[in-house]
């Protein structure tokens, strides 16, 4: 088992290399001269040249890549041009809303999606099944940011039940924090709940036809016991895969959701940085989120090993 995890860790290296090179190239695709941006409009050509030299931008690209990679490995993502602070620090200050939003959306997705999928599979072709699959099709088709706008219209503008936008930090007031995150997390999580319900349903239908489920039923076990103890564990692997993929999409969707609900998170900072042409921030956010995503997938792969004994014994 340790061996498998170690082997999985090794496969991370090429992925991280490609992630790093892509991020570096993105930074260099940007139009305009970062040195000129930093120097400001009133700078003389000599001043711009001096800044370019100080930043190492006059060196050959491979040299720049290696020095940049060296800095990044030490955790130094450079300085924000606009905010005058290290990018790493700026990201850390905004991790809380993004992190909580992602976790709460995932919670909604699992809480709604998995039971809905199981019920739909057990009561196949009943009205519950049709209703669940109908809602899930709608959930897949409605863009999360538009759902967010609709929720604001309903719960904030018409019913005055929840705050339309803004954020209170968890340490300040946990209850208020939850109130501010409820709509964003639901709008972001629903599409994933829908997808999860579809996968859970189709895997469950497959499992329910297996011989061991029939055996368990024929030896007299109750329906619920068979469902929970025999069928459900076998659905966990595909469900875990979807959860792993969803995390990346949630981090993606968090960007639009943060903008809709003006949450002071990483995604909104990135969008604000586009207008300000603050490329080190954009680069830093993209790199950090990609690394987090790679680590989440690693965690999911390790979780497989615990969930599925066949994988543990190396059968697959």
């Amino acid at each position: 088992m340790v061996n498998q995890i170690a082997r999985r860790l090794l496969t991370l290296i090429p992925v991280l290399v490609v992630v790093g090179i892509t991020t570096f190239v993105l930074g260099h695709l940007t139009p305009g001269d970062p040195a000129a941006v930093m120097a400001g409009d009133s700078a003389t050509p000599e001043q711009v040249e001096r800044i370019r030299h100080a930043l190492g931008l006059d060196l050959p690209l491979p040299v720049q890549l290696t020095t940049w990679a060296g800095r990044v490995v030490q955790g130094n993502l450079g300085d924000s041009i606009f905010m005058k602070e290290p990018v790493g620090q700026a990201i850390l200050q905004r991790v809380e809303p993004t992190g909580l939003l992602t976790l709460l959306s995932l919670f909604f997705a699992i809480l709604i999606g998995v039971p809905a999928g199981i019920i739909a599979a057990v009561r196949r072709n009943s009205w519950i099944d049709r209703l669940a699959m109908g809602i899930s099709l709608a959930g897949v088709c409605i863009p999360s940011f538009w759902l967010g706008i609709l929720l604001i219209l309903l719960f904030a503008v018409f019913l005055h039940l929840l705050p339309a936008a803004g954020y209170v930090s968890l340490s300040e007031d946990p209850a208020a924090c939850l109130r501010y995150l409820l709509m964003p997390a639901f709008s972001l999580g629903l599409a994933h709940a829908a997808f999860l319900a579809r996968i859970t349903r189709s895997s469950m239908l497959e499992v329910l036809h297996e011989d061991y489920v029939r055996t368990a039923r024929s030896k007299g076990l109750g329906k619920t016991a068979v469902l929970i103890r025999h069928a459900f564990p076998n659905v966990l692997v595909p469900v875990l895969t979807v959860i792993g993929n969803s995390t990346a999409a949630l981090l993606s969707g968090a960007v639009t959701t943060e903008v809709v609900f003006t949450l002071p998170g990483i995604g909104r900072m990135m969008i604000q940085s586009i207008a300000r042409r603050d490329y080190p921030v954009i680069q830093g956010v993209v790199l950090c989120v990609a690394v987090v995503y790679v680590l989440v997938n690693l965690a999911v792969d390790i979780a497989y090993v615990f969930v599925d004994p066949r994988i543990r014994q190396g059968e697959r």
């Binding site: 090429p14 290399v17 409605i142 706008i149 903008v259 990135m270 586009i274 490329y279 680069q283 989120v289």
Partner: protein
């Protein structure tokens, strides 16, 4: 009671001989979901192409006296914060969405298909191509697209490029898997034995077996492109803000949604309905062409 299990060597490779005949079209026409989906897509296309100039309004003309009018007989879906006719802007917005969807679909199918074919067939190139694809897949898609847009600036071509970078890796991986199965089949071995050149085998014998998953995915890629374009434009990193695009309209609606909820509701419905049509069509195509692939990607 026991099911008769065929030996796996016979049942394993899915060779869609059906796709070469046109049997699947017949199947598709008998799939009610696919037909509904196809009609929705057709309706959106017809409205975008022919309907846009028929409303009698200019999508860009600002009429301050007519701002935020509710739906009426002269403005069927009302007007926006600058007094522009909402329906007209939505119809022109449909052109943007369809253009981005079509462009992304064609370019990603070509690049993803080619990448997958080459990676699956030439083992010497497999490692390097798939490592690059894995690396690109490590980026959450909207984040990568936003970063590319930030680097390249607003514009429809750039939106297509940015979304394509995020869709190609998944397509390439799918086709590579298909090719690796097909490569081992007897008829490929036979073609090699009679002396066919590798490129002929690749394009003549292996490519036809990868066409079904590509057609199925094309519809889903189109849907993803429509949603992603809307999200990018909504974030101010897509189509230039003055142009009528569904994402831009939703962005503008945020400021006035309390006074005029219809400005938010209609453009979003357009996105949802278009995506619904594409997804229904894609589900139908999958059931008819490619019954073995699950909805995993």
């Amino acid at each position: 009671m026991s099911k008769l299990r065929l030996p796996s060597t016979i049942e394993a490779p899915h060779i869609s001989s059906r796709s070469s005949s046109l049997h699947w079209v017949w199947l598709l026409l008998h799939d009610s979901g696919a037909v509904v989906g196809g009609l929705i897509v057709l309706l959106v296309v017809v409205l975008a192409v022919f309907g846009a100039p028929l409303t009698g309004h200019d999508p860009l003309r600002v009429e301050p006296f007519n701002r935020l009018l509710p739906p009426s007989s002269s403005h069927w879906l009302g007007t926006d914060a600058l007094g522009r006719d909402l329906l007209t802007r939505m119809l022109y917005g449909a052109r943007v969405s369809l253009l981005v969807g079509l462009g992304t679909m064609v370019v990603s199918t070509l690049l993803g298909g080619l990448g997958g074919l080459v990676a699956g067939f030439f083992q010497s190139l497999d490692g390097i191509i798939m490592r690059i694809m894995d690396g690109l897949m490590a980026f959450p898609s909207i984040l990568l697209a936003v970063a590319i847009m930030a680097a390249r600036g607003p514009g429809i071509e750039n939106v297509i490029i940015a979304i394509t970078v995020t869709t190609v890796p998944r397509l390439a991986r799918l086709i590579r898997g298909q090719v690796m199965v097909t490569r081992e089949l007897t008829y490929v071995e036979a073609a090699t034995a009679v002396g066919s050149k590798p490129l002929r085998i690749l394009f003549w014998h292996i490519l036809p077996n990868s066409v079904s998953p590509l057609i199925v995915q094309a519809s889903f890629t189109f849907a993803v492109a429509v949603v992603t374009e809307a999200a990018l434009s909504f974030l101010g990193a897509g189509v230039p803000p003055q142009e009528p695009a569904w994402g831009n309209m939703l962005q503008e609606s945020m400021a006035v949604m309390m006074a005029a909820p219809w400005v938010s509701i209609f453009p979003g419905s357009a996105i949802a309905i278009t995506v619904l049509g594409l997804n229904l069509l894609g589900d139908g195509l999958r059931d008819c062409l490619d019954p073995r692939t699950e909805e995993s990607s």
